[in-house]
């Protein structure tokens, strides 16, 4: 990375004011973010919130309507070719060739990137992925978990400096997900920067930093602890006879969210005083056991989501 300025060298992604709209509908609005080199950056948000669009703008697949930024020190508008050489992009939908074998897919990628010995590079990757014995199997015949491993292998094959993973674990079983995340952490330890979008809260908690995006706006970012601390949400945990309680509590002043969690109910609100006033009559009854608790990341996100809907829709 000779051409990157020294000040940017510890920042992998640095974008400001990215905006993109399709057919008059703004999908990403004035989005700014910075991702440190070597970190795992989680990108969260509901469906259609602009995560995929943002990732595509970062790797040159979409041109932003406005906004500027650099990816690995290269301008995202001008230097798309240089970015493509150094970035591995794993698409949301499996996008390798289903009618090519595992080996053939990897060799294709290796040749496109001009890796000196494509056959050897593909063989090494097959071994690293634990796919030995399946080299000649068609990619389309692999199970979901194996497809996802192959896709990760294909985008790490050209030794990128930045990985953009768009919901890589959607539809993958828990064991495969865990293996996948171990691999991501191993790659980050080698110095790779990883930007990963996900819907899963447990995955968000595996990231060094997270950002939450809804309706095209970046609503919160920081470490998981920071995001929870900044939410100013109070949460109570209720157990006992929950029959009908949720419906009764919903809509009372100060109660913004009522969500069942197994045998308990999470009741949260941003206005602590109003929330406590509303639940006071219920707390007095012995039918329920009330306990103040820390809001979960999910509580925070659901709250951000419902608030952003009020603001932007």
């Amino acid at each position: 990375m000779n051409s990157a300025s020294p000040s940017a060298s510890d920042i992998a992604i640095d974008v400001e004011g990215l905006t993109k709209s399709f057919g008059g509908r703004t999908v990403v609005q004035n989005l700014s973010m910075q991702v440190k080199r070597g970190s795992i950056y989680g990108f969260l948000g509901p469906n259609g919130s602009g995560k995929t669009t943002t990732i595509r703008m970062l790797c040159g697949l979409l041109t932003p309507d406005s906004g500027t930024g650099t990816c690995l020190g290269y301008d995202i508008r001008r230097d798309a070719d240089k970015i493509k050489l150094r970035v591995g992009y794993m698409t949301q939908r499996f996008s390798l060739y289903q009618d090519l074998s595992v080996r053939e897919n990897l060799e294709f990628v290796a040749r496109l990137y001009g890796i000196p010995n494509p056959r050897e590079a593909a063989r090494d990757m097959v071994n690293r992925l634990g796919l030995s014995g399946r080299e000649e199997q068609l990619a389309g015949e692999l199970s979901g978990g194996w497809k996802q491993r192959l896709a990760l292998g294909a985008c790490t094959l050209p030794s990128p400096q930045l990985l953009l993973l768009d919901e890589p674990t959607a539809g993958v079983d828990p064991k495969a997900r865990r293996d996948f995340w171990n691999e991501i952490h191993a790659l980050a330890a080698e110095g790779l920067t990883v930007l990963v979008s996900t819907h899963y809260m447990d995955e968000a908690e595996r990231c060094h930093e997270i950002a939450y995006i809804a309706y095209g706006n970046l609503l919160a970012h920081g470490t998981v602890e920071e995001v929870i601390a900044n939410s100013s949400l109070s949460t109570w945990n209720v157990t006992g006879d929950l029959n009908g309680l949720a419906a009764e509590l919903t809509g009372k002043p100060g109660i913004d969210m009522v969500a069942p969690f197994g045998t308990s109910l999470h009741v949260s609100g941003r206005d602590r005083a109003a929330l406590e006033a509303s639940i006071a009559p219920y707390r007095a009854q012995a039918r329920w056991h009330w306990q103040q608790s820390e809001p979960s990341l999910e509580d925070v996100f659901i709250d951000l989501m419902s608030r952003s809907r009020d603001n932007f829709q």
Binding site: R56, C59, G60, L61, L62, T63, A80, D81, K84, L85, V87, Y89, T91, R93, F94, S95, L96, Y97, Q98, V109, L112, Y113, A154
Partner: protein, 387 residues
């Protein structure tokens, strides 16, 4: 779901109107989808209208005003009134006057004229002396349909032509004879004409579809997203997608020509090497056009439809089915824009007339131009982003 009101509950699948209701639901859905698919909708109108207009206006199975050359060895009143009489049959149109036999043969061989009339030196004097000299009419009979009716009209020409100049007697006492010479296909076998034409027609169909589907297939399968995120340039994608099919097309062409020669007895009078080279050029041109289509359309169905839109005029206007020279001028201009037109001339000329490259310069250059045009459009149309 809120509790379904009784009217909102699904009915038993057995009820008596069920068949009609479900058919209707399906039918309604298809109509909505059809209405949203603009291209299909356009095709519904375009294909029949285009076909009808082309058949109705452009196609003429007894073509008239066919380009002809005259080799005038003497300038006489009689010669001129014979030529005038030939033009009056409306079959012949004299476009060239040549002065040597070589030039005469060249024009016929390159397909620039379909007929050549030679009026020999001393013709008028021989007629007056009662020597019954012969007038040579050479026809390019590769297309028996185009040549046939014109040659037929020559039979009665002598009497009508000479009404003013001479007193033509009964047929046995005709003052001169017209000797017709059906070149290249003397037996007027339509097979000789059709088999070389089929080579081009089949190649157009198959080559076009191979590449027309190639880019849309990547988009529909989602592989385009991954491909675009990798460092590859539009020209590289294009070459990668065209080159394998050049080989496929070459095998196909060899197969068709081989069968034509072995089974149908079509000769290859010209150079096999040149036939192979120009066939490869034609294959590449079609692949480039197909590839261009695939960068324009949205999905594979549209790609097929656009290919059909291109294939249809190719068959009708290229001279494959109907004589090219018989079409109105506007249709001939359209035809010049189709690679098949040029290839059919090339393949017929090489196989049936033994033409050399000097006869085929124009058609070769036209094919190269069409290929480069298609490739340029394809490379500029290729979307490097998903915008």
């Amino acid at each position: 779901m809120s509790a379904a009101a009784s009217s909102g509950r699904p009915r038993e699948a057995r009820d008596i109107f069920g068949f009609w209701r479900r058919s209707y639901a399906m039918l309604l859905k298809e109509f909505i989808q059809l209405r949203r698919d603009r291209v299909s909708f356009a095709m519904i109108v375009m294909i029949p209208v285009m076909q009808l207009l082309l058949f109705g206006y452009a196609i003429n199975t007894t073509p008239r005003h066919l380009p002809s050359a005259v080799l005038l060895q003497e300038d006489s009143d009689l010669g001129r009134s014979i030529l005038k009489a030939m033009e009056n049959t409306s079959y012949f149109r004299f476009t060239r006057e040549v002065h040597s036999v070589e030039e005469f043969d060249y024009l016929l061989q390159s397909g620039k004229v379909l007929f050549g009339v030679e009026i020999p030196r001393g013709f008028e004097r021989a007629v007056r002396r009662g020597d019954k000299p012969a007038l040579l009419v050479a026809a390019d009979a590769t297309d028996p349909v185009a040549a046939g009716s014109a040659l037929g009209a020559l039979g009665t020409l002598v009497q009508t032509a000479l009404a003013h100049d001479l007193h033509a007697g009964d047929p046995p006492n005709m003052p001169f004879e017209i000797r017709t010479h059906a070149r290249y296909n003397p037996a007027a076998s339509s097979r000789l004409n059709i088999v070389p034409g089929l080579v081009g027609t089949i190649l157009t169909m198959t080559m076009l579809i191979f590449t027309a589907l190639s880019v849309t297939r990547e988009i529909e399968r989602g592989t385009m997203e991954s491909l675009l995120s990798m460092p590859i340039k539009p020209v590289e994608v294009m070459f990668g997608k065209i080159v394998p099919y050049v080989l496929v097309g070459f095998i196909q062409a060899t197969l068709i020509i081989g069968i034509g020669v072995l089974l149908f007895g079509v000769p290859i009078l010209g150079s096999v090497l040149m036939l192979a080279a120009l066939s490869t050029l034609f294959i590449t041109t079609n692949l480039s056009i197909g590839y261009t289509f695939s960068t324009i359309v949205q999905n594979q169905l549209q790609a097929m439809q656009l290919s059909m839109m291109f294939f249809l005029p190719s068959i009708l206007l290229s001279g494959f089915m109907f004589p090219f020279a018989g079409m109105p001028v506007w249709a001939q201009y359209l035809g010049e824009g189709l690679p098949l037109t040029h290839y059919i001339r090339i393949v017929r000329a090489i196989m049936l007339k033994g033409a050399t490259i000097s006869n085929l310069q124009y058609d070769t250059i036209a094919l190269i131009a069409l290929m480069l045009l298609a490739m340029t459009i394809a490379v500029t149309r290729f979307r490097r982003t998903l915008d």
